[in-house]
């Protein structure tokens, strides 16, 4: 049954540099697939440096399940396998051909396939890693039985891409994707929109909910919590809505969809707009001519994204890049200045008098880490029936039973991003939550 949810706790951070709804394309001569994007996966290489691959050729698989393939987004040559400490594989770099040659997958049986058949096709085509699960916010486990599938049809984070724009011509792919996912669960495929359904209005075989309110309304964890909350032992699978269309395209054509439309945003971007780029494109290809020098390049949004160095590559799950100013300047008596240019959830800066102002925020922390002092701050931006500070404290002391009691299975690090943003004591709560989830995965396995 479709639900209309309204949340009031949260905040929209208005930043400078929203992407104009205009689509361009950027080619990248080198691309990379980063095993580190797939949390908890231990990669086993299937290629070596110098091998020729096509778009769709497996580069590595998951040590825990060799059917889970991670495939090359482009055709070309395996240029380099970059390793870090303890020979951990960080990147598999590829030199792309001018013309992409695709592997052809047999997808003819998809309409009649059952759950196992769909999983087999998705794994073989390297599409399985696009599906994630809650709890834990990691890649879905094909052996588990999810009670439902949830897909957030919009992103509410700062400067987020508009999926109604990105997917406006993709209704067929979305429908194919939904039909396939519907076979994976006994429950429903739930799509949660912001109310303006757009391209999602004509979709069948799914339940369309709506949620209103400020960020983090677009976080799928918030949506699950308000529509069909997770209990201990239950599992929900989730997928980004553009990735859903990619799965649909794969099942329709038998070729992987190796590109994504992403929003290039932020105050340091010269002309913020949408670009179609290949998965794992190099930062260099994206920033050249588009982004001011010395800016911080973030794959993802400013709250949850990854900082990527100039020689790095885009993250696998990201549909947005953001470039913001790097702050290194100490502020003289900054803690008494009126602060018209600072955004704060508290009203201790005079910027509260300008609610519609768009901010050009840099990477400054504006303070130092302290013990928990202020209370009630996190609750204002945390739309769960969960006590966030108490949960964080239970994680800090590694008390798994208390973490379970306090609802850790319902949250992902991204749900704490606003708490982290607004924290007076500058506590890195996303990292704490990730550690807590990892501890439970380790203890349960």
């Amino acid at each position: 049954m479709a639900k209309n949810v309204k949340i009031s706790r949260g905040v929209d951070i208005n930043l400078v540099g929203k992407a104009e709804e205009k689509l361009g394309a950027i080619d990248s001569t080198t691309v990379a697939l980063k095993p580190t994007d797939f949390h908890g996966v231990i990669p086993k290489l299937e290629v070596k440096e110098g091998d020729e691959v096509k778009a769709g050729t497996p580069l590595f698989h998951d040590k825990a399940n060799e059917n889970t393939k991670f495939v090359s987004p482009v055709s070309g040559e395996v240029a380099e396998v970059v390793r870090g400490a303890k020979r951990r594989i960080l990147e598999v770099r590829l030199l792309a051909d001018k013309e992409t040659k695709f592997e052809n997958f047999d997808v003819s049986g998809v309409n009649s396939a059952d759950k196992a058949g769909i999983i087999e096709i998705l794994q073989r085509g390297g599409q399985w890693p696009l599906i994630k699960k809650r709890p834990f916010d990691v890649m879905a486990d094909a052996n588990e039985d999810p009670k439902a599938i949830f897909i957030s049809a919009f992103d509410s984070s700062p400067l987020a891409p508009n999926y109604n724009f990105i997917l406006k011509d993709r209704a067929t792919d979305l429908q194919t994707g939904i039909d396939a996912l519907a076979k994976l669960t006994k429950g429903a495929v739930n799509i949660v929109t912001r109310g303006d359904k757009g391209v999602f209005s004509g979709l069948n075989n799914c339940t369309i909910h709506s949620i209103a309110g400020p960020h983090p309304a677009g976080n799928v964890g918030v949506q699950i919590h308000h529509i069909e909350p997770l209990n201990k032992g239950e599992i929900v699978w989730t997928i980004n809505v553009q990735d859903l269309a990619a799965i649909g395209s794969f099942l329709n054509t038998g070729k992987i969809q190796n590109s994504r439309v992403l929003a290039m945003t932020g105050a340091e971007v010269k002309a913020p707009q949408y670009y179609s780029v290949v998965l794992g494109s190099s930062v260099e290809s994206l920033s050249k001519g588009n982004i001011n020098d010395n800016a911080r390049f973030i794959s993802g949004n400013v709250l949850t994204g990854d900082k990527i160095e100039a020689a790095g590559y885009l993250g696998y799950y990201h549909h947005q890049v953001t470039a913001i100013r790097e702050d290194h300047e100490a502020e003289f008596f900054g803690w008494v200045a009126p602060g018209f240019d600072k955004f704060s959830l508290s009203k201790t800066f005079f910027s509260w008098a300008m609610p519609n102002k768009k901010y050009n925020l840099g990477t400054g922390i504006h303070g130092e880490e302290r013990a928990f002092v202020m209370t009630g701050q996190y609750e204002k931006v945390f739309p769960f029936d969960i006590y966030p500070v108490q949960l964080l404290k239970s994680i800090i002391i590694n008390d798994i039973e208390q973490m379970e009691n306090l609802g850790i299975y319902e949250v992902a690090p991204e749900d704490f991003a606003l708490c982290e943003f607004g924290c007076t004591s500058k506590i890195n709560s996303q990292e704490i939550v990730r550690n807590g989830l990892d501890l439970i995965i380790k203890e349960l396995s």
């Binding site: 840099g362 209370t375 607004g422 890195n428």
Partner: protein, 384 residues
């Protein structure tokens, strides 16, 4: 600005690891971060951060305390000239008050920060800002005639046993400023009560009929007849601790704290309700003349408003959950008035009540959180 920065940068190597003053790094770090909000950039988690930090939070509270401090200075002067029967200009009263009050502030900050620095040097921690507010609260809840050495002793006790033994800022169970006050109240009862400590007379002859008793002292003996008029109590031109007398000054502070989102309106409102309910119940009972003081008048006396706005709302020692804050505040108010009326020897009922509720706050939170946990368990069972 550049000039100051250059000086700071030039002495910095001495305090870094391996420098000859390495041990005193916390002191240097404290001063440096006091002058400059450090230009650290985010390295993990959210890339942008709120402009607020603990220093800004504490400064906002101090700003909210300024009306109480200024009025306190004026009132000390006003009471002084009233007691010796001289007429004086407004400015004379303020100057006289400032001369009496500022030493209290200086001693409180000097001793408190000194001890904090020592602990930080010993532990190698950077200095946390908690005492910035406590150091201002302590002089404001002292009788003006309290000897400075007592202020020093009380501050030392509060910082060491109220805070540092628990692990410093953010870890304490009791409100440090009230701990200082309670220490003096129980250690030196003769100096902290009676009629002579509230008014600064400099040993001069007081006018006939002048007692120097506080409103609550009079109320015990004479009930409604003994207390100052409603308006005087609200404005605050009555004897009492330095900064607590003016309801208006406290309300200005409350507005600043609530508007900036620093102080909890839930605690303030529920404490007001709790105090009023208790006062009203006593009115109905009316067993003695003290109980007959109208509830709304009762709340204007003593440290009720000051405690409500600045003491009960201390986020570290108060309840931490929003539901818990309602319960905590309500009982602060209720017990405060109850102690005050039942045991006239303890006119500082508000202090006792808040300290008692500080101890109870973790228990309140425990039950609130437990309620959330059992709700989640029930939801799981309903499905299973």
């Amino acid at each position: 600005m550049e000039f100051i920065k250059n000086i700071v940068e030039s002495v910095k190597p001495n305090f870094d690891k391996g420098g000859k003053l390495e041990k005193y790094w916390p002191v240097f770090d404290g001063l440096e971060t006091f002058l400059f909000v450090p230009g650290h950039a985010t390295s993990k988690g959210a890339h942008i951060r709120d402009g607020i930090d603990l220093k800004r939070t504490m400064v906002t509270v101090i700003l909210a305390l300024v009306p109480c401090l200024l009025f306190g200075m004026y009132n000390v002067g006003y009471q002084h000239f009233l007691a010796i029967g001289e007429s004086a200009e407004f400015i004379d009263m303020v100057i006289y008050g400032a001369i009496r009050v500022l030493p209290l502030v200086i001693v409180s900050y000097g001793v408190g920060l000194g001890i904090e620095f020592l602990f930080c040097i010993k532990n190698g921690h950077s200095i946390q800002e908690g005492f910035l507010v406590s150091g201002m609260l302590i002089p404001l809840i002292m009788p003006v005639e309290v000897p400075l050495w007592m202020v020093a002793a009380a501050t030392a006790f509060a910082v060491v046993f109220g805070k540092e033994v628990f692990g410093g800022t953010g870890m304490n169970i009791l409100n440090p400023a009230l701990t200082a006050r309670a220490f003096l109240f129980f250690a030196y009862p003769t100096k902290m009560s009676g009629n002579s400590v509230w008014i600064s007379t400099d040993g001069m002859q007081t006018v006939d009929g002048y007692t120097g008793a506080t409103a609550l002292g009079n109320a015990v003996e004479q009930g409604v007849a003994g207390i100052p008029p409603y308006l005087d109590a609200i404005i605050g031109i009555i004897p009492g601790s330095v900064g607590e007398t003016s309801v208006i000054a406290c309300l200005i502070g409350a507005v600043i704290l609530i508007a900036s989102g620093i102080g909890s309106w839930r605690i303030m409102l529920s404490m007001l309700i709790g105090g009023y309910v208790m006062g009203y119940l006593f009115n109905m009972w009316g067993a003695n003349s003290y109980m007959e003081i109208p509830a709304h008048h009762q709340l204007m006396l003593g440290g009720f408003f000051f405690g409500m706005v600045f003491m009960a709302t201390d986020p570290v020692s108060a309840a931490q959950t929003n539901t818990g804050k309602w319960v905590y505040g309500f009982f602060c108010g209720l017990l405060g008035i109850m102690i005050r009326v039942f045991n006239p020897a303890y006119p500082e009922g508000i202090m006792m009540a808040i300290l008692f509720m500080n101890v109870m706050a973790p228990l309140i939170d425990h039950y609130v959180v437990q309620g959330n946990i059992s709700k989640r368990l029930k939801r799981a069972q309903a499905i299973a």
